[in-house]
Symmetry: D2
Subunit: 327 residues, 4 copies
């Protein structure tokens, strides 16, 4: 068997980072050599996440130590905190997939939606990590920015229509794990159960990713809704195209775009998020009503929307089979 690539997961105590650790630990061609955490340093990862089965103790982030132990890293810090960590690891030569927003956007867009960038010199080398759109660039990259969960589903629903779309409404339904591990009023069980709650109705930062990745001039309305489930995300996309498309024409665009894609399934009925739970798959359904194209895309927000896609990116960066460790 070929030697396995040593990897570290930075920020392994959050939901996304923890799944990165699980996937890296179980990956046939990777060897998980270190997991770090900020407030949970010193605890065993499998004490915090027994199902994930990662028998390592979380340590504080020491870039020199990580550089001794690993040749690649998955960074699962919140945005703003991620950029300096990524810089420290890139300076030491590690390939990095960053799951935060810090390297997804050009500087102008980033600073408009977030804050002054902490490591702007790295933006140029970062590749937007949606393999279905940027596979070849990811293969050659040293720094890949994992797309947001909302953006992943929305882009997979919209990219095949990008050149024809004039107007899109993206209505997202997302599970509570998307809000992160922090205990807040919104993530309290009593608040989240038996509830649907739209939020960021005046503009969610993930829409910046859509603007950047879709063709210029598409009018985008984007609203996420919190629904009472743990994992899962559905993007319902209502698209006006020019010219108007028949159902067959619309589906043909998707068939062409996703032929051979290992993780995108074009299906012939509306997707259920339950059917992609704990998988790296995206199930997509295309139809039309009146003169509008409707596209529904379902993913697991922690898998294809975060950790699974990050491993998919890393597989590409390391020249491994793209689906390895993700089946």
């Amino acid at each position: 068997m070929a030697e396995r690539t040593p990897v570290a997961v930075i920020g392994a105590a959050g939901f996304g980072g923890a799944l990165c650790a699980r996937l890296a630990h179980a990956h046939p061609s990777l060897e998980l050599t270190a997991v770090t955490a900020r407030s949970d340093a010193g605890r065993r990862h499998d004490a915090l996440y027994p199902r994930h089965g990662v028998p390592l103790t979380m340590e504080e982030l020491d870039p020199d130590r990580i550089a001794e132990k690993a040749r690649a890293a998955l960074v699962a810090y919140p945005h703003k905190a991620a950029a300096p960590a990524v810089r420290a690891l890139r300076e030491r030569g590690l390939k990095v997939v960053d799951l935060s927003a810090d390297f997804r956007l050009d500087r102008e867009r980033y600073e408009r939606w977030y804050q002054p960038h902490e490591a702007p010199e790295l933006i140029a080398e970062a590749v937007y990590g949606l393999p279905e759109a940027h596979r070849d660039e990811i293969r050659g990259a040293d720094l890949v920015a994992g797309p947001g969960c909302n953006s992943t589903a929305a882009l997979l629903a919209l990219l095949p229509l990008s050149d024809l779309a004039r107007d899109v409404v993206v209505d997202i339904k997302t599970g509570v794990s998307g809000a992160g591990r922090e205990a807040t009023t919104e993530t309290h069980y009593v608040s989240a159960t038996e509830n649907v709650n739209p939020y960021k109705t005046e503009g969610h930062r993930h829409s910046a990713e859509l603007e950047q990745e879709l063709a210029d001039g598409v009018r985008i309305t984007f609203v996420p809704h919190l629904v009472p489930m743990d994992q899962g995300l559905l993007a319902s996309c209502y698209v006006t195209t020019e010219p108007r498309l028949s159902t067959e024409e619309a589906r043909a665009l998707f068939e062409r775009a996703y032929a051979g894609e290992p993780f995108v399934d074009l299906i012939d009925a509306p997707p259920r998020t339950a059917d992609v739970r704990e998988t790296n798959r995206c199930r997509v359904y295309v139809t039309t009503t009146g003169d509008r194209v409707l596209v529904f895309a379902a993913i697991d927000n922690l898998w294809k929307g975060a950790a699974g896609q990050a491993v998919q990116d890393l597989n590409l960066m390391l020249g491994l089979p793209e689906t390895e460790g993700l089946q």
Copy 2:
């Protein structure tokens, strides 16, 4: 105390009919004198629905007996089954609120979306039972058709914009009780939990109500989604108007339309379905992004979307205070 009006609930074993029975039973000006059921006849209502506290035995529907006992009826049969029952009761002089689709639409629309009408001679006298739109007609009516749950939320979100709207996308999130009491693959707990599922993506019958009630020429795209909750419904409406409206202009239209409405709350943040649970209220939030107006309306699908609104209608028909029995 004034004499209470005797009422019957026809089809009291389903979720909507059961709540009609509870509300009628607890209503200060109504006396619930009979509850009927098809397959559950012979059972006590409070054995089936202990929380509702209705101490009556469900009987089979015998219109003559009902006419002896009641002067008004709430009919909660499925569409098609409702029309003959309504006819039998109307022939015996009862005022009727029908919760099914049978009398919501003009005949042409009804027969396009449903099937040949079973009691077409009654369509002309039926009033569409959305008090916020047809209060005066409801007051004088002998037959009122309770709007669909989806339509109620969508219309309350859209009516103030009706004249200006050119295009609307209505994305509905609805709880499982909206699918009815019948045990099916879709309503199985294991299927519904941890899942979001769009359905009727090519056209839901409730959109016919929108077409009928909104101004001509509005382009409507309407998609419901099943989400893992018991009761509750959110309509997210994405509206293109002509002329384009500012947030202030849009809100002003709603303030004017709903001034004094007892059950519509204009609020200043996106509504949560949990906040209307087990109430007859509709919470509405109006905002804009780019050149689009966004309106979010939350109701309890069994209350304002069915039984609560039916009692509100009946209050109007009987000259009672509109909110009686619904606070």
Copy 3:
């Protein structure tokens, strides 16, 4: 109409206190004149709890102001914080129902399970507020201690057997609202959903209430479990009696004990917590297997387990009908 008694709710921002406020506000013989909160002072109560419909602004606790406005108070502070607040209100002559643990136990028991008592001089006047056991004392009391939610269900299941019971296992299943409004790792939706979790397996403080209220010498094993629901609590009680009882004998004891009880329903099948949701009722089922008596009692932990029972107590203290405002 008789004058309504002015009441205040102290600690109205928590789940239990908020429901106290709702019940007091809607109560025909009470007038809610003040609501206080610690961290949420200055906010409208109905902004935090729209469904409860309490149109008052929460204020900081100033006992003098409360004494001007109210003749009775429902105190819903956590234990230890409650005692000084209760003292301040009692010193100003208010009748008080305290929902915390501070006045449920004799001093010795309290200090063994909790901490040094903050207002020990009041313990003697406090009555344990389970009306089914102490109705007459509650009627004459100025200070009543609302029982714990677990204890309420367990005691209603056990009291009729108290003299005969030798050994009881109490296995509690409780909804997440019982853990309070604070956002914690345990109350995070992602942690609580799809999970059952025993806790305090080596001894829960509510068992002290059982020891105090049941006959001496009963061996009690008491374990609560957190289950994924919002409101609701089931006590499953496995009782060894001496002498051994037949099912008929056991049920007869319960029928005698609860004849005429307005909120206790003896039923003939195992109770479902859903059937008591948002009611002040306790549904009890008694059966036997082998030589053991099994008793299952279901309540809503926020109603009969907290706020509803507190209002029931207050009704008794004020000479009002016991069920007023609770139907």
Copy 4:
């Protein structure tokens, strides 16, 4: 690579059988060659269960065809229907793991709790498929009866105490998938959510398995409760032993019993069912209160409680590594 053993799954449309199919399909040493179903024959398995990824069409059960295609079978029929199917397969020489109750009990016990046995001649050769208790017999067996989900958790919690236990209360909390795929009133989302519901309070058939497997003379009280979760099962066991055991003594018994067990984890805090979700693990916590030993055992009812354990049994029967395909 060694040749893979061809296996069939009989009854692959139910929850347990579907998971058998997934596990067999993904198993490195098995080749899933046929899946059968009764009412869903003719449908692709992955159309019904997309996540499971089994690309086979379900066929009607034809024992001759199965015998041509497979050398072993996992039978996931309901009890009574299972026995004739098992006989047909055994007559054709297949090794069988049967997940129903049909071969778990001796004939006397079976016919007392179920009905006249359909294939009594096979009872003698059947081994009770709990590897932690009968590993060596399973290795040599041609017919293994997979234990019930409740029994699996309860026995793993009780077996190390079997000789010392005098009295046990087993209080089970189980997810809704345990009730099977059939849509019923109890499995309706609206019925199951926000609810805890004891059932079979006068005697559940799984207790017969406990009686058979535990030492004679242990008094067993066994009550299952349905809780609102999809997958998961917790057995809370309250055990009186003779002699009385200290916590250390009790834990020592478990450490000895489960040393080296690949799927049983003795842990030092109460188990959460979420931590075993979609794993074949059983997490066990042992403690004492007063003179009672308390043991809590958590499993996934579909994995260690059904399909996972069946594959574990099959691994043993075929001489494969016991954990293969189950990590």
